[in-house]
């Protein structure tokens, strides 16, 4: 069995993934950040209710801060439903 380019590609990808897995922070530890440069998650937690007025922080992030991402998500679901309906339909029937 000869070594094909696909095998080489898989090996390189595997090595990169292993390096990335080793470089991850330990399980359960929160990554250290300086208090002056706050992460965006801390910003959402501190300003989410004051800016939108909704109590559920998940809904705030999903529908407000990242609304276009959720619109794309719903469009994917729409496409899935249309696809299933189109594939399972008998040919020539409305």
């Amino acid at each position: 069995m000869s070594i094909k380019p696909a095998h080489l590609l898989i090996a390189i990808l595997w090595i990169l993934l292993m390096v990335a897995a080793v470089a991850m922070p330990a399980f359960g530890s929160f990554p250290d950040r300086a208090p002056t440069m706050k992460s965006v998650a801390v910003y959402y937690l501190e300003n989410g209710m004051a800016q939108t007025g909704a109590l559920n922080i998940v809904s705030t992030i999903v529908w407000d801060y990242r609304g276009y991402d959720t619109l794309g998500e719903v469009t994917v679901l729409f496409t899935a439903a249309i696809g299933v309906s189109a594939i399972l339909r008998k040919v020539g029937e409305a």
Binding site: M49, Q51, T52, G53, A54, L55, N56, V58, S59, T60, V62, W63, D64, G67, T70, L71, V74, T75, L77, F78, A80, A81, I82, V84, S85, L88, R89, K90, E93, A94
Partner: protein, 145 residues
């Protein structure tokens, strides 16, 4: 078709299941939940009734097939239109102009309740279409007017 116990209980409970899913959707900006879990909860009575009564019995019901067709042809496009319309409203209007209750009340959260509602209906319609298509659209199913 399952036993008469399952059939009776599912016939009694399916409206309450729809109501619970609707509650999850409407209170999406206050409590955990929202459009996606609420939509799945609103679809679950359809799956339950189909399991309890069997595909053959459900297929005999003309209204069910017509309901599936209405869902496929009209409702999803209309609901996506409503969803896009609410997105446009939400992005055009400032957050201060729409549903400005104090946090914790039902009419608060700006565009988020409207988006939850539209998204919930869209998820409900999409999952119902997928399920009903897989149930109904098999060999031998005829489209009759």
């Amino acid at each position: 078709m399952l036993s008469i116990i399952v059939r009776t209980i599912s016939k009694m409970m399916y409206l309450f299941m729809i109501l619970y899913g609707f509650y999850i959707i409407v209170h999406g900006h206050l409590t955990p939940g929202g459009a996606f879990p609420g939509g799945v909860l609103m679809v679950s009575p359809i799956v339950l009734l189909t399991l309890a009564y069997g595909i053959k019995k459900i297929k005999q019901e003309r209204r069910e097939i017509e309901l599936a067709e209405v869902l496929e042809t009209d409702a999803l496009i209309a609901i996506l239109g409503v969803f896009l319309f609410t997105v446009l409203i939400a992005k055009v209007m400032p957050r201060e102009l729409l549903l400005t209750g104090s946090p914790g009340t039902l009419a608060s959260g700006g565009p988020i309740p409207l988006l939850n509602f539209g998204g919930g209906l869209e998820v409900t319609a999409a999952l119902a279409i997928i399920f009903l298509s897989m149930v109904f659209m098999k060999k031998g199913w005829r489209h009759e007017h």
